[in-house]
Amino acid sequence: MAKKDKKKVSDNSCGCSIDDLMNYEAVSYSNTDHDRLCGARDSDMEFFIDPDPEKISQEFYQRRLTDGLPIIPPTRERVDSFLKYSQHHPDDVIAVLPPKMGQATPEKIAINAVMAGCLPSFQPVLEQSIKAISHEKFNLTGVNATTHPVSISIIINGALTRQLGLNTGVGCLGPGNIANATIGRAIRLCLINIAGAIPGVGDHATHGSPAKYSFCFAENEEENPWESLHVERGYNPDDSTVTVMAAEAPHNVNDHRSQTAEELLDTVIHTATTAGCNNSHVPGELLIIMGPEHAQTINRDGWSKKDVQRYIHQNSHLPVVLGDRGGRKLDEKMIINGNIPITRSPQDVILVVAGGPGRHTMISHGFGSGSESITLKINTKPE
């Protein structure tokens, strides 16, 4: 049973402590001498208990406020514990999210974060993630509404990775880590409840995607032979950042035998160069989540990160006859010798190192040219 609520004590509930009763400032007797009891007389004591998670989960599920999984009831007490970590006033509008054009305030983000099972210290990451996806270049309007199974990949870099205990190694794409699992989930719940991206209502993905439950991880900077994503994008190594990218669910690249950079990257390219992805008719960003062992093999050959990005860009293309089958007509200016590249430039190859031992890399096609990834710095001290 929960402790007696302090706020209610000073609100004249009976069961007041002697200190409360003697404190005239806190306990105001509204009536005269003949009525000396506290205002709340329907009981002698009032205790506050947390709602039953099973009951609240069912109620919220019926109101289409969840992703289908059980939730933690977002009580005022829990939400307030998140707001202590906020960078803003609880009612500040951080972003307005389409299609419903709902206002994302720290309080609304915190409510959804509680529901997702986040820890209070995740609040700054969530606030910056929401700010990032609201950037015009991210095109959340298209990303939320599309029939394409695009999810939002959230990549964390910097010191905060360690402070929050994000998984950068074995199984970083899940399951098993509270930060990776719930940060992505909280963003999805914000999209459902603040943006209105309810499947079949504001989110029209033909099949949806398992990656829409959560697709959050941190870069394995310790085992990355190259500069990490946030440094590549102009931040200091000590800065903490969040990068959001509209991305499909990841696809594996299994290569146990290649011993040179070129051989190994050819396997990656072959997996990436497929008809039917958005990149095949509207070239755009391609996420490569390279396993540390693959990265070491390539680095051993003296290849820099830029070399890898250039090689992937230059060699990832497919015949126009296969590429031009998407919703939007292929831009003929993109055709080179009857082929269409799946990226527009080496910078479109978003290369991060993450994962544990093993000779695997994961790739995720983006939303084509319909969305650009955004990186923002995360401040953890209140302003």
């Binding site: 929960a2 329907d42 009981s43 002698d44 004591m45 009032e46 205790f47 506050f48 208990i49 947390d50 709602p51 609240i56 919220f60 406020l65 009831p73 977002p74 009580t75 005022r76 007490e77 939400v79 307005v96 999210l97 389409p98 299609p99 419903k100 054009m101 709902g102 206002q103 994302a104 305030t105 309080e107 609304k108 409510i111 959804n112 529901m115 095109n139 309007t141 298209g142 990303v143 939320n144 509404a145 599309t146 029939t147 394409h148 719940l189 409840n193 603040i194 943006a195 209105g196 209502v201 504001g202 989110d203 029209h204 993905a205 919703g327 939007r328 007509k329 084509g368 040219s369 319909g370």
Partner: protein
Amino acid sequence: MKVKLTEREVLNPLGEVQDNKLDLNPLPYDFDKVSLVDNTKPGANIILKVLSKSLGNREFLCVKKPAGAPATEEQIKKAASSDVAILALGDCGSCTSWVVLDAIRMEEEGTPTISICSDYFAPFARNLAESHGLKCLRILEIKHPIAGLESDEVEEKALKIVQNLLYLLQIP
């Protein structure tokens, strides 16, 4: 002693929405120039061709814009330079979104618009238009699906909405 147990309240996760109202431009009584805004979705060009034929001897300005992404400022200005703009096609989530939002941008430029959306996505189109302040945005429905059909099948579906277009434009 009476003990009262009170269950703590849970907070509402839904985002607040600001009331925002825009004005819809009236369709002109008579008009000479029509923008045909093609987002390059399969069948969009055929639908626009069928509809333009029904409008007789008028000047048509063809504007291409990307599906699933916003038109450029230049494309919006060009499309809004006519007396009325017809946009096609909203037959998926992202393309419907940007047909509707680009139509609203043209309305804000002072040009009346008619957006062609498939009947499956039309309710979403209307909700989206309302969220952006233009509940009454003109949306003309065509039977879903369009993509994956032969040209003559798309033509047949387009011919079925010609009367609705003429009614909207008050053309006898």
